[in-house]
Structures are given as structure tokens and as C-alpha cells.
């Protein structure tokens, strides 16, 4: 539902495109979006900055990603603007997704403690710049993203069910590969 709403908002904005944004200079941006996958959609927020020189942009950013497991991605950010369609860009983000801490399980049948660790974060896709003012732009992008998360759980199996060493610890590592579609709206200022 949220996905459809974003499309409904995004479509009319296409008419705002007047000219391509300033091609060269330092830029900062903030991004809001949504990740859509097999699990419940998750909010994505990002902030970053970088430098654009002619058709290339290179920068870095960090953000918040709520999809399935809350995490904080830090990433390098690249964009390429084809000469013939200067408002269109192809982008790629790659980095590491930091976990939102470790959590203690709540299973009351036995002690169940787990640690969440991060992993690769990537997002590649295409976007389109819509000029708002001379040095401000709004961009919409669509990408395919992979977030890796590792969850390590420690369970305790009743071994002798008596005595000081009654419980044997078992360890399970769950490696998640979360593949999502990323729909993002980016607001950018050129300095």
C-alpha cells in the first residue's frame, strides 16, 4: 500500500523536470524511502555527501534501514549520468550494514540469547533528477538491494537436568540474505 502511495506521489513530480542540476560541485543529500521484499516493507533513511565532476558523482553516506532487522548502513555512493539523458543516473551503493545491537531473547522455556551482527550492504539502481531550484534537486530512484545479517543464537539444552553443569550450550548461526527493491526519494543541495 505504501509502495502504491509513493508511486502516486512520484508520478506527478515527473513534470517538474526543467533542466539538469548543476553538473559539478560538492553536494549533500538526504534520502527517505522504503525497502520492499518478502518481509514487511521497511523504512529507509539516508544522509550523505560527495562531489560531482561532469558525469560522475562519488560520495559516502550513512543511514537507517528498518527492513526485517534494524540496521545502520554506511556506504560509498557512486552515480553515473549518461550524456544524452543528463537527468537520468545509474547509481551504486556498497558498504557495511551495522546491526542495531544485540538482543536478549524472550523465550521462557530456556535461556535464549542472541547476537546480531551486520554484513554487506549494497544497492544498485537508476534514478531521475528533478530540479526544484537552481541548486536544489529532488531525485527519485529505484534499485535492487542486498542486506546481509547474521544472527547468532545460544540455546541451552537440558543435558542432565540436574547438577551444576546441567545445561549444554548449543549455537546456531542464521545467515540472512535480504533482497529488496529500494524506492527512494532524494533531496540534494549543490554548494
Amino acid at each position: 500500500m505504501r509502495f502504491i502511495l509513493i508511486i502516486l506521489i512520484a508520478c506527478p513530480l515527473a513534470g517538474l523536470a526543467q533542466s539538469s542540476p548543476a553538473p559539478t560541485g560538492w553536494k549533500t543529500n538526504i534520502t527517505a524511502g522504503e525497502a520492499f521484499g518478502e518481509s514487511m516493507p521497511g523504512l529507509v533513511l539516508q544522509a550523505g555527501g560527495g562531489f560531482r565532476f561532469r558525469n560522475f558523482y562519488a560520495g559516502a553516506g550513512a543511514g537507517y534501514d528498518k527492513y526485517k532487522f534494524e540496521s545502520y548502513p554506511v556506504f560509498a555512493d557512486f552515480r553515473f549520468f549518461p550524456v544524452k539523458v543528463p537527468n537520468l543516473f545509474i547509481y551504486g551503493q556498497g558498504g557495511y550494514s551495522l546491526p542495531n545491537g544485540s538482543k536478549k531473547g524472550t523465550d521462557d522455556s530456556y535461556l535464549d540469547i542472541y547476537d546480531i551482527s551486520g554484513g554487506l550492504y549494497s544497492d544498485i539502481g537508476v534514478g531521475y533528477n528533478l530540479m526544484l531550484k537552481k541548486k536544489q534537486a529532488l531525485a527519485l530512484s529505484l534499485g535492487y538491494s542486498l542486506k546481509k545479517v547474521s544472527v547468532e543464537r545460544y540455546g541451552y539444552t537440558c543435558l542432565y537436568c540436574s547438577g551444576p553443569s546441567a545445561f549444554e550450550r548449543t549455537t546456531s548461526i542464521y545467515n540472512y540474505n535480504l533482497r529488496r527493491i529500494m524506492l527512494k526519494m532524494l533531496y540534494e543541495i549543490t554548494w
Partner: protein, 422 residues
């Protein structure tokens, strides 16, 4: 105008693509689980019975229940047997022999006889010479139902005498319950049916499941109280069985009364008529594990959570024993929060409480509403016997002895190291 329209159409088409992609995107998960796989080692029942006697001392591996008789300590090594420790010099106890009893978890002593469980059998050992212990008699099927290692069942004519341990890594999809893998694997190793039983007394600990009052041996299983006549010490005979609610854990004698701890409450029985226990009431609490001890005024119940113990309660409850009407619930007088309390012992005004990783705590309980902490010893304590100015503590890593003759100077006398092994 045309350009704008085209752009708008393209734009909308592009951003509608996720609807088409939606069915392709997946969250995949791979599970890597690390276990210890326990494989049973079998022996013929007769062969094992013949070997139940004093053997050379062995290293303590998984200390369980304890029992003191005179200058000797009998220490259960869970599922392996009983260590005999010469404690004539408490500052330098000696591990003098080992009685191999597979499946042993509990023991009790009366006179020169030691009663122990040997899987489903109750065995009687002659300990008149603690250095030359001999099997006196055995009583099959005394404990017909005994849960063992997640329901593992051994063959009828054989018993499990040991386990080989193997680390194992299993890869699976995340939605496969990992516990099940272990059980199935273990059941595949299984060849048949059988198994048995339960714990100690005399000066026994609060975690005991065996206890003796005069000529009766009382044992508790998961849901029953069994009574055995031991007036002829060498040949125990079953006299009665009292059905109890599920979740029974411990039994503690006080005069002619029995205090039975369960996961849902404490039951109190009068055994003035030894074979016909009369209920004196019960105290119900949240579902947790709860060893219990009592004196002539109060019952002391520790409630703990974690592991197989459900709930989130960790506390010491002190209960009034004035009410002896089974229809009137016993009254909780006061609750003291604890960390993860296990066994406890009391001598006079001193209460020794094994508070798990928080250590062994010693309190002055002359005022039950305001416990006065006297000392805390750092250890992962499990059970304690406080007897005749000596406290004997089973903890992870060792069997400790303390001298509390001077309560302002409670001091460690000795430690026997326990190298816990699976």
C-alpha cells in the same frame, strides 16, 4: 508538452517495475548449528551390577547430590556413580574411592546402608566399610519412568554406562527447528527400551529427591511420592505410592513431616503414620524451580528461572507453617529478591543460599523480614548442606567446605576441584 507527457509515462512505468519484481525478491536464510552429539555406550545389566563396588578414586566430573555420614562424604557424580570422600580432616578431604553406578542421581544413607538409584532400579549398598562398599541388593523397576537426555531410551537388557561426545555442525534452512535435529539423530542411534530414576538425605541437601525418616525411604519422581520400608535395611520393600501433581523436584524431611518442592508449589505432608502421608496443605507459586527446606516455624523456598525452569522469578519465599489445615493455603510471610537461587541449607539462625553465579550467600535469619547478609563467597553454587558447623557446598568447579562455628568469621576449609566434563 509532448516531451513532458512521454517523460511522465516513462517515469511512471519505471517506478511501477517493483510491482513486477515483487514476486522475485526473496529473503533467504541458512542456518548453521553447532551441537554436541551424545552417543550411548551400552553394557549388559548383569555385568554392570557386578561392578557396583568400591573402585579406585576418580576425578569428579559432574557433581550432583551430596550426603554426609560420619567422617565420610558421599558425592554423586551425575549418571556415573558416587565418590567416597574421607573427610576426617575437613581441611584436607581425600577422594578415596569411587562406586560406579550408571544412571545414578540420588542417594540416601541409613546406618550402614546406602540407597541409590541405578537407572530404574533401587540398589542397596553396604557401606559398613566405606572403603570396601558392596552391592547388597537391588530392586528392579523402582523408578519405572525416568526422563533421560531428552527422552533417550536404552535397550531392555542393556544400560547406558557412558556417552561418547562428538561436536557436530549441521547446515539447514532457518525454518527447520534446530532442537529436533538433535533428538532425531539421537533416536536413530537408539536400539531399544528401558531406563530409570532420582536423589539424597541424612544430612542431605535441599535438592534431594530421596530422603529417610526412621524406617522409611521416601523418593519423589516427576509426579509421585514412593514409600519404601527399610526396617530390614538390606531389603527395601515398597509400601505405598502417593500421586502428586507433575513437576515434583525435591523432598526435604523435618521431624515427621515431608516438604516436597515442585515447579508449581510446595506440598507439606505429615508422615506420623509412615505409610500413609496426610496432606497438611500446600503453597502455590508461579511456575519455576523451587528447592525447599524447613524448620519448625517456617519453610524456605527458593524460586528460580532459567534453563528448564520456566518463569522469570528469582527469589526466596519464607512461608508460615502455623497453618496445618490442607484446605487453607499456607501463608507467604516475606519475599526476598535473589539472582538465581538454587539449593539452600539452614543451621540455627544461619541460612546458606546458593544463588547461582551470584555465589554462596550466608544470612542471619533471626529476623526473617530483614535478612542480615553475613558473607558472600564467589562461585557458581548449586547445593549446600549446613551441618554441625560445617557447610558443604557443591559448585561449578569444586566441592567446598566452610567452617561457620564463628559466624563472624565464616571461612573456607577446603576445596576438591571438579573438572566438569560432558
Amino acid at each position: 508538452m509532448t516531451n513532458n507527457f512521454t517523460l511522465r509515462v516513462l517515469f511512471c512505468a519505471l517506478f511501477s517495475l517493483p510491482i513486477l519484481f515483487n514476486s522475485c525478491i526473496k529473503d533467504s536464510c541458512q542456518q548453521k548449528s553447532t551441537y554436541k552429539i551424545f552417543t550411548p555406550v551400552f553394557k549388559d545389566m548383569d555385568e554392570v551390577r557386578a561392578d557396583i563396588k568400591s573402585n579406585a578414586p576418580r576425578e569428579v566430573q559432574n557433581a550432583g547430590k551430596i550426603y554426609i555420614r560420619g567422617n565420610y562424604i558421599f558425592l554423586n557424580d551425575i549418571d556415573r556413580g558416587i565418590h567416597v570422600i574421607d573427610n576426617s580432616d575437613p581441611s584436607a578431604p581425600k577422594n578415596v574411592s569411587f562406586i560406579g553406578i550408571p544412571g545414578n542421581m540420588d542417594l540416601a544413607v541409613k546406618g550402614n546402608m546406602l540407597y541409590a538409584d541405578f537407572y530404574t532400579e533401587l540398589i542397596t549398598l553396604d557401606i559398613s566399610n566405606p572403603l570396601d562398599v558392596r552391592l547388597s541388593s537391588y530392586r528392579p523397576q523402582s523408578f519405572p519412568v525416568r526422563p533421560y537426555l531428552n527422552g533417550f531410551i536404552a535397550a531392555a537388557d542393556k544400560i547406558i554406562v557412558d556417552w561418547t561426545v562428538q561436536d557436530s555442525v549441521v547446515m539447514n534452512a532457518c525454518d527447520v527447528p534446530n532442537d529436533r535435529i538433535v533428538y532425531e539423530y539421537m533416536q536413530n542411534l537408539n536400539s531399544g527400551t528401558n531406563v530409570a530414576a532420582v536423589s539424597p538425605i541424612g544430612a542431605g541437601g535441599s535438592m534431594a529427591r530421596f530422603t529417610i525418616i526412621n524406617d522409611r525411604l521416601y523418593t519423589v519422581s516427576q509426579n509421585s511420592l514412593e514409600i519404601l520400608d527399610i526396617s530390614n535395611p538390606g531389603t527395601p520393600t515398597h509400601t505405598n505410592k502417593v500421586t502428586l501433581p507433575w513437576g515434583i523436584e525435591t523432598i526435604f524431611p523435618m521431624g515427621a513431616q515431608l516438604f516436597i518442592g515442585s515447579q508449581s508449589g510446595m506440598f507439606r505432608y505429615d508422615v506420623s503414620t509412615p505409610d500413609a502421608p496426610v496432606s497438611l496443605g500446600q503453597f502455590s507459586h508461579a511456575r519455576t524451580c523451587d528447592p525447599v527446606i524447613a524448620d519448625d516455624k517456617y519453610a524456605y523456598v527458593t524460586l528460580r528461572s532459567g534453563s528448564s525452569c520456566a518463569g522469570y522469578t528469582n527469589q526466596l519465599d519464607i512461608i508460615d507453617l502455623k497453618i496445618t489445615n490442607p484446605n487453607v493455603p499456607m501463608q507467604l510471610l516475606v519475599t526476598h529478591p535473589m539472582t538465581n537461587p538454587h539449593g539452600l541449607g539452614k543451621d540455627g539462625d544461619l541460612l546458606f543460599l546458593c544463588d547461582g553465579v551470584a555465589g554462596l550467600k550466608v544470612f542471619d535469619v533471626s529476623d526473617i523480614y530483614r535478612l542480615k547478609p553475613l558473607k558472600t563467597f564467589t562461585m557458581d553454587a548449586y547445593d549446600v548442606i549446613a551441618y554441625n558447623n560445617r557447610a558443604l557446598v557443591v559448585a561449578k568447579g569444586g566441592l567446598y567446605q566452610y567452617d561457620y562455628s564463628d559466624k563472624s568469621n565464616i571461612r573456607q576449609l577446603s576445596k576438591i576441584t571438579i573438572n566438569t566434563k560432558p
